[in-house]
Structures are given as C-alpha cells and as structure tokens.
C-alpha cells in the first residue's frame, strides 16, 4: 500500500509543476483581460473587481488600435478557411495521384514537398515576400493564402499519402473491374475512406493560417487586409498601450484554435504524429 502511495506521490510531483508551467501564461492572459487598467498593473493574482469591460471595448472597437477589429477578425477567418479548403483540395488530389494513380514522377514531387516542409518557414519568408511583390500580390489577402497553402500542403500531402498507402490495392482493382473511372474511384471509394485524415489535415492547415504572424505581417500591411494577428502586433508600437485590452483581444484571438483543437483532438494527435517523424 505504501509503495503505491509513494508512486502516486511521485507522479503528482511531476504533474503539478507541469500543470503550473503550462497554465500560468494562459491564466495570465485571462487575468489581464478581466482586470481594469490599475488592477492589471498592480501585479495581483486575481483582480479585486473582475470586469468584462475590456471585452466590451474590443467588441465596440472603442480604442485606436481596435478601430478595425471586426474587419481584422473577418480577415483572419477568411484567410484561415481559404487556406484550409485550398490545402485540402490540392493535397488530396496530389496524394491520390501519387499513391493510387502512381503518377510518373510521383516520388520526385513527394521529395520536393518534403524539402519545403523541412526548410524553416522563416527562411522562405524573405524570398516569398519578394516573389509576391513580383506577382503584384502584396497587400492582397491572396498572397497570405497562397503562401500558407505552400507551407501547409507538403505536410498535408505526406500525411495523406501515408494514410492512403495503407488502403488495400485490391479495392482499386475491384473498382476498375466494376467499371469505375479515375474520378469515380476518387469520389466514391478514396474520399470516403480517407475522411479522418482529411479532417485532421483540414484542421491543421486552418490552424496554421490562423496562428501565423511572420508571413502575415510581411505580406499584408494595409489596414483593410491585415488579419487579427498583425493587428495585435500593432499594439506594441507604443510603450503605454492598454495592455489589458490587448490581452482581451488576444484571448478572443486565441479561443478559436483552442476550441477547434479540443473538438478535434482525437483526429489531430493520431493524424499528425503518425506522419511527422519516422524512427
């Protein structure tokens, strides 16, 4: 009995610091967002008078930095969804072509994609910025969408190809004998069987785009097109910005990814780690 207790105690000894380490910065966001200005800067652990006024300020766009809040929110949403949808479409088709149709040169394309995946995104940012300039896309939301699709697609193709390779080859043969054309095979057999992976990848691409900062602020600078991430960055321009309002905005910004991750956590963990690194 004592050994068991000791073992449990040891686990708690690890678990509690992990919980604290993970949650304190998160809690801090929450803390600031429900505090008044004075209370926030007093270093208190819990505000004397917790208030939702900050959120009101955000939603009513009542501060200089918040004038375009809803617009920015909409941009973030639009960009994230477009990236999710486009990545899914492009990656699903490419994975099908490589895995099931065994298109010649498939391995080369897969390698090219892997190369893009491994190169740090920050390194591609500057060339991407110049390229988008060449294409005349700077300050159009499409530049960020296309850049994020470029970054998300390789991993998506890799994961989808791995999942697709697990499907028995006889299914394709049976379908061909049954009279299926390539599009019919894709639509009626492949897509239904790939659904869990598709959900994981769509979510991954969407979150990647929503969370992105560097590419967003490099490629978009016009007030009308910037997503919420860049808008938040603007707060740092001056030294006495209302940090509690910033945190409230940041909380709102951070909620959708947290919620989506929580809703899809089963798909995400399985789908993403299986393809990430093979031992």
């Amino acid at each position: 009995m004592n050994r068991k207790l000791l073992r449990e105690a040891r686990l708690w000894l690890v678990g509690i610091p992990i919980a604290l380490w993970t949650l304190i910065p998160i809690y801090h966001i929450f803390l600031f967002s429900i505090s008044s200005k004075d209370s926030a800067f007093s270093g208190a652990l819990w505000p004397e008078h917790p208030t939702l006024r900050n959120f009101g300020t955000v939603f009513r766009q009542e501060h200089f930095y918040l004038h375009h809040f809803w617009n920015q929110m909409w941009n973030s949403l639009w960009i994230a969804v477009m990236v999710g949808v486009l990545t899914l479409a492009i990656a699903t088709c490419a994975a099908f072509a490589i895995s099931r149709l065994k298109v010649p040169g498939g391995r080369t394309v897969m390698n090219a994609a892997l190369f893009t995946y491994f190169i740090p995104a920050a390194f591609l940012a500057v060339p991407m910025y110049k390229a988008m300039g060449s294409y005349g896309l700077l300050n159009s939301r499409w530049s960020l969408v296309l850049a994020m699709v470029t970054l998300a697609a390789p991993y998506a193709i890799w994961v989808l190809k791995q999942a697709s390779d697990k499907l028995p080859w006889e299914l394709d043969e049976a379908a061909r004998i049954d009279g299926a054309s390539a599009p019919q095979l894709f639509r009626l057999v492949y897509l239904p069987l790939m659904t869990p992976s598709l959900v994981a990848i769509g979510t991954y691409a969407l979150l990647l785009a929503w969370n992105e900062y560097l590419y967003a602020f490099l490629l978009l600078s016009h007030e009308e097109t910037i997503p919420l991430a860049v808008g938040l960055g603007h707060f740092l321009a001056s030294d006495d910005s209302p940090w509690e309002i910033l945190m409230a905005t940041a909380l709102i910004y951070g909620l959708p990814p947290a919620a989506i991750y929580y809703a899809f956590r089963r798909y995400m963990v399985g789908g993403l780690t299986s393809g990430a690194v093979k031992s």
């Binding site: 006889e170 004998i177 049954d178 009626l188 057999v189 069987l193």
Partner: protein, 348 residues
C-alpha cells in the same frame, strides 16, 4: 457467356519472363481451373485476362474479340479476389450494386439485380450490414454476389478460398460449383490447391514455370498424367515415383521386380516408375516392404513403407493390422502403373 482464348501469351516483368507463350481455349460455359505451385504464372494469367496487367506478347480474346487494349471495365468480366476486396465504407447492398451505380443504371434495376443475387447466395439478411460485421465466408459470398450482379461474360476467381478455414473451404467449394451449374457462366478459377481443382473443374490447366504442363478433364489428368510434374502434382497423397530399369517384362527397381501393365521397353534402359498410393495393395504380393509409420484416418489408413532404401506412401481402405517395424508384402496394381522417360519426364 462467352469463350475465352489465350494465344501464345507472354509476360515479362522487366527482364524476368514469367509466361512463355501460353495458349489455351476455354469454351463457352466451361469451368476452367488454372492450378500450379506459387510463381507458376496462373495469377498473372488471370490478371492479364482481367486487364489488370499489361500483355507483353500474344493475344487474349473474349467471345472472339481481341481485348489486349480494352480496359477492364469494357471487357464485361467480374472478378472475385482472394482478399474479397469489399468496399469497407459501403453496406453489402451498396457493395453489390456498385458497378451498376457507376453505369448510372436506374435504381429499380439495381434493386432488382441485387435482390436476385442476394437470394441466390442467401445474403438477404445481411444486405444492410457492413463488411466488418461479416464473417469470412459471408464476405466471400458478398464478393461473389458483386460478381453475379454484373451478369458478366466471364467470372474470374483468384484463389478465393485461400483465406478460409478448412471446413468452410469445403462448403464454399460446393456452393461455387452449384452456382456455376445454375448460371452456366464461363469461369476461370485460379488455385494452388489441387483438391479444389479436381473437385470443381470441367477442365484443368496445370501450370508450372510459366507454361501449361497439361490441359484436360480432372480424371484425365489423374489417369494419364502427361509428365512427371503433373503426375506428382495431381492426387493426394502424391504419386510414388522412383528410378528403375526395364528388365524382362517389368521394371527392376529398389532391388525388386515391379510389374507393368503395357509392354516393356529396351532391356536395361533407365525409366521412372510411378504408382499412386491408393493403387498399391497390401497383404500379399511380390514385393517386400518394411512399415515405418502408420497413420489411421478412420475410413482409410495411410502408411509409409520402406523398400530398398526408398520411402513409399500407401493408402488402404479400412484399418491396417500392421505396426511400425513389420515386414509386409505389397502388390502394385499393374493396370495403374505409370512409366516416364528417365530424362524428359514425359509419359511413356
């Protein structure tokens, strides 16, 4: 229903040639079994007929029409795979109706055809289930149902019973045979199991190393194997074969004189002597043998005997009164003796 024709069919995978000019005619409505050891090319031949493999040389014809360049879906064939290949995300009904749905057939027609096939195969209670909810035998029947619904010119079976346990295999064999008798569709059936071949086929093509060793009705292959390979492949337990020379009016081998049915050959010419285990009588006879192992099977007894340093297998009806170590006398039925040329292995 249609005839199938293979004309000097050749197939190479890269530099490796796996089919060396196979020619075969299958008549309309015939149940043809392609049998042979692993790697003999039987599955490759079937897949070429299905359109799943390219043809390296020669021609395939269905119903008199060359189909070398015709796509699978236009050949009007149906295939039952070894692993069933059922669509896991579709119900039994949807699986069976899939090919008709691809052709945009009217729903009523699909419904009728599926119901018809389900009735024949006793699948009606399972129409709403998914493949993962079915047993192996049921899945196999769904795979057959999918083929029946298409009402094709030719049925192709690729080792469909290999994944089933022994008892189920026997039951399914009978079902497939009954199905063929009912539908009378030309069938090409691939298996490595010679028992399946013997029990189901109208004619058997025994294949080895990319060639057809012999083509004929089951009993023909059993009674008059054309060469050593066929002789030892068909029949279970396998035929006893050993070396000897023609002597007097028989064959001298293993230190004994073995009788033969027909006239002999040139004296002292080497020859291979073949006799099936079930064609050796025990109890009395000209040849002495020592019992090594006795395996009572109930209705029959299988024994391993030793004659002159060689082991022979013998099968007798009923129980045997012998035990290991006994010396007994045996007599080969001379009308059932097979003689093969010592070098070529061809039947004499």
């Amino acid at each position: 229903m249609a005839s199938v024709s293979f004309s000097n069919l050749q197939k190479s995978f890269g530099k490796t040639k796996v089919l060396h000019g196979v020619s075969l005619e299958i008549a309309d409505g015939e149940f043809m079994v392609l049998v042979g050891p692993s790697g003999c090319g039987k599955s490759t031949l079937l897949r070429m007929l299905a359109g799943l493999e390219d043809i390296s040389g020669g021609a395939i014809g269905i119903d008199g029409r060359v189909v070398n360049d015709v796509e699978s879906k236009d050949r009007d064939i149906a295939m039952v795979f070894q692993s069933y290949a059922l669509y896991p995300h579709m119900t039994v009904r949807e699986n069976m109706g899939f090919s008709l749905r691809l052709r945009n057939d009217p729903p009523k027609r699909i419904e009728d055809r599926v119901a018809h096939a389900a009735r024949i195969l006793n699948l009606e209670p399972y129409l709403g289930r998914y493949p993962r909810e079915l047993s192996g035998g049921q899945r196999q029947r769904v795979a057959m149902g999918r083929a029946i619904v298409r009402d094709p010119k030719v049925f192709l079976f690729d080792e469909p019973l290999s994944n089933l346990d022994a008892k189920l295999r026997v039951a399914m064999r009978a079902e497939i045979k009954a199905l063929h008798q009912r539908l009378k569709t030309t069938t090409v059936y691939v298996t490595h199991d010679q028992v399946e071949a013997m029990t189901m086929a109208d004619r058997i093509a025994v294949m080895n190393d990319g060639r057809v060793e012999q083509l004929g009705a089951p009993l023909e292959l059993y009674d008059r194997p054309a060469n050593l390979f066929v002789a030892q492949f068909i029949g279970s337990p396998a035929m006893n074969v050993f070396d000897g020379v023609f002597k007097n009016s028989g064959v001298e081998a293993l230190g004994e004189e073995w009788p033969i049915g027909a006239s002999g050959g040139p004296q002292n010419q080497p020859v291979k002597y073949g006799i099936r285990p079930e064609h050796i009588d025990v109890g009395e006879g000209p040849i002495e043998a020592e019992v090594i192992v006795v395996e009572p099977m109930g209705a029959e007894t299988e024994m391993v005997l030793q004659v002159g340093g060689q082991r022979l297998t013998v099968v007798t009806h009923g129980r045997a009164a012998f035990g290991p170590g006994d010396k007994i006398r045996i007599s080969p039925q001379k009308e059932n003796v097979h003689l093969f040329d010592a070098e070529s292995g061809m039947r004499i």
